[in-house]
């Protein structure tokens, strides 16, 4: 276990300067995620058009891992179609070991297709922190599910 694996520079950069912060007036989908164990909170607004994520806004508070994960997620999903977003959620969960992987992923580097997000791969070695990294993604899933429901 090395702390440098967990706290990569890119993670600390997203933590200090989170991207896409704020709210979207009249958003098309909204999700709220809480981790009752630690009090981390993520609020997520999405603007969706033509089955594509046009804009993302995030607020809330929490540790470097949850906040960096949210910030990176916001960059990764902006401009993506909903099908691509679903795929990204799946791939992220595989990277975190919370979902079974598919054949297209390299088991040694399941995050390779995730760009910056691959930096969160080190979280896997810190089981208590996997929930932190996953919180924005479960919030995103909930936002999309509520919209469709």
């Amino acid at each position: 276990m090395s702390l440098e694996d967990l706290y990569r520079q890119v993670i600390l950069d997203h933590y200090r300067s989170p991207r896409n912060q704020g709210h979207i007036e009249g958003c098309d989908a909204h999700g709220e995620g809480h981790n009752p164990l630690c009090g981390d909170e993520i609020f997520l607004d999405l603007a969706i058009g033509d089955d594509t994520v046009i804009d993302v806004a995030i607020s809330g508070q929490g540790c470097s891992i949850s906040q960096a994960s949210a910030s990176m997620m916001s960059e990764a999903i902006k401009g993506k179609t909903l099908v691509e977003v679903d795929d990204l959620i799946h791939r992220f969960k595989v990277m975190m070991n919370v979902e079974q992987g598919d054949d297209g992923l390299d088991p040694a580097r399941p995050g390779a297709v995730l760009g910056d997000l691959e930096a969160l791969q080190g979280v896997r070695k810190f089981p208590v922190r996997i929930k932190c990294a996953s919180l924005p993604w479960t919030t995103l899933e909930e936002a999309l599910a509520t919209r469709e429901g």
């Binding site: 276990m1 702390l3 967990l6 706290y7 600390l12 200090r16 164990l37 630690c38 009090g39 981390d40 909170e41 508070q61 929490g62 540790c63 470097s64 891992i65 906040q67 810190f126 922190r129 932190c132």
Partner: protein, 409 residues
């Protein structure tokens, strides 16, 4: 340190292990304490040589287990200055407080009544009252605390009107370390006819407690925070209040007779001990009490106090570190909660774990308090008999490392 208890450390097997190749520095006793060999041996001995279900068997093992269980009750009673009949073994502070809330509250509260809590309560002394309030129509009120993290006694006096039927208060905040004047509060509240309940989860493990001096109606604490095992706790009550209370749980051992439609209850305290009780754990708790008694609770408190004073002084020297709790160490227990600019408490805890240092991070099961102090999460260190000044040195070095790793200027 005037109070040197470092010779006790060899009694705690876990303190010899390493975490990530570093010697363990355990600073989370407010969540749960470590156990000395004496406690482990007492339980092991019972399991190995004298184990049989209590009160049920007309055979030697059952008699011996029963005698050990009742002896544990006497040990607890002596420790808090009461009679064994006023000591009910429950499963922890939480189960003790639920027993009071349901057993007394459900049968005495009604719409228009007020349950007066404080803003520094642990969820265990909030949520059961919320549940009972929902059933009975009673309302909840909260005594705030002052800017220096002391209970606001003026506000308490204002809130204590004739509708207040229950005053439930912590003996020591598990986040702030604040020790409200429970004796004074109990006297005022009882004078107004309110039931006074003390959450003593942090108080009894760290300070000499004479329940009759506090003068409350009920008081609950846990075994596992005072060197004892998990799964056992104590509910102390005034006899007249116990008599007013209905059992919260029904089952074996708590009855006098069972008919098809109804039952009668066993004498107090057994009527509050449904099912096979945690009697091995109670014996472990008694061994923990013997251990604490041998040190002396005055010494335990003095030792906590010296480490807390040291920690407050050393932490104050770290730039960007904010402490939540009284700076003045009178009527203050050995927990220190803090935040650091630019580093979230969870990250502090992870980084310290890498150094072998165990601390707590989060809201510490006190979200209303966390909202009040404007810190949704804090890092918390807490001390007990096995901690030494070098633990504080390790903590401070770890926090400097966290600042470097996060590049906090």
């Amino acid at each position: 340190m005037k109070t040197d208890l470092s010779h006790l450390r060899t009694d705690f097997p876990i303190l010899s292990r390493t975490i990530h190749d570093k010697p363990l520095v355990f600073l989370d006793s407010a969540a749960s304490s470590q156990k000395p060999t004496q406690v482990l041996d007492a339980m092991d001995d019972l399991y190995r040589s004298r184990y049989g279900n209590v009160y049920r068997g007309a055979y030697t093992l059952s008699e011996e287990s029963t005698a050990a269980y009742e002896s544990a009750r006497s040990t607890v009673a002596r420790f808090i200055g009461t009679s064994p009949t006023q000591v009910a073994f429950v499963h922890g502070t939480t189960s003790g407080l639920n027993t009071i809330a349901y057993g007394w509250g459900l049968n005495h509260l009604k719409s228009g009544d007020t349950i007066l809590l404080t803003l520094m309560e642990h969820h265990a002394n909030i949520v059961p009252w919320q549940m009972v309030a929902r059933y009975t129509g009673a309302r909840l009120a909260y005594t705030p605390f002052t800017a220096d993290y002391r209970l606001d006694l003026d506000a308490f006096a204002d809130l204590l009107d004739d509708t207040v039927k229950v005053v439930a208060i912590t003996g020591m905040s598990n986040v702030l370390g604040t020790m409200p004047p429970v004796g004074e509060i109990a006297a005022i509240a009882r004078d107004r006819g309110a039931l006074v309940v003390v959450d003593a989860a942090q108080l009894v493990p760290h300070f000499p407690v004479e329940v009759n001096e506090i003068g409350a109606d009920f008081l609950a604490f846990s075994g596992h925070k005072m060197l004892g095992p998990t799964g056992v706790g104590v509910l102390w009550g005034r006899m007249d209040r116990f008599e007013e209370m209905e059992p919260y749980e029904g089952g074996g051992e708590m009855i006098s007779d069972v008919q098809l439609e109804s039952s009668t209850w066993a004498p107090i305290p057994h009527r509050f001990e449904a099912g096979t009780p945690p009697f091995v754990e109670a014996v472990g708790l008694a061994a923990a009490i013997d251990y604490l008694d041998a040190i002396g609770m005055e010494t335990v408190a003095a030792h906590d106090h010296e480490l807390t004073t040291l920690a407050l002084a050393r932490l104050a020297g770290i730039p960007g570190l904010t402490i939540y709790g009284p700076k003045d160490t009178t009527d203050r227990g050995g927990v220190v909660s803090f935040t650091m600019d630019g580093i979230h408490p969870h990250d502090i805890a992870t980084i310290l774990d890498g150094e072998g240092i165990a601390i707590r991070a989060g809201h510490h099961c006190a979200r209303p308090l966390a909202r009040t102090i404007g810190a949704p999460a804090t890092a918390r260190v807490s001390f007990y008999v096995y901690n030494v000044p070098t633990d504080v040195d390790a903590l401070v070095a770890g926090l400097h490392k966290a600042r470097e790793l996060f590049d906090v200027a």
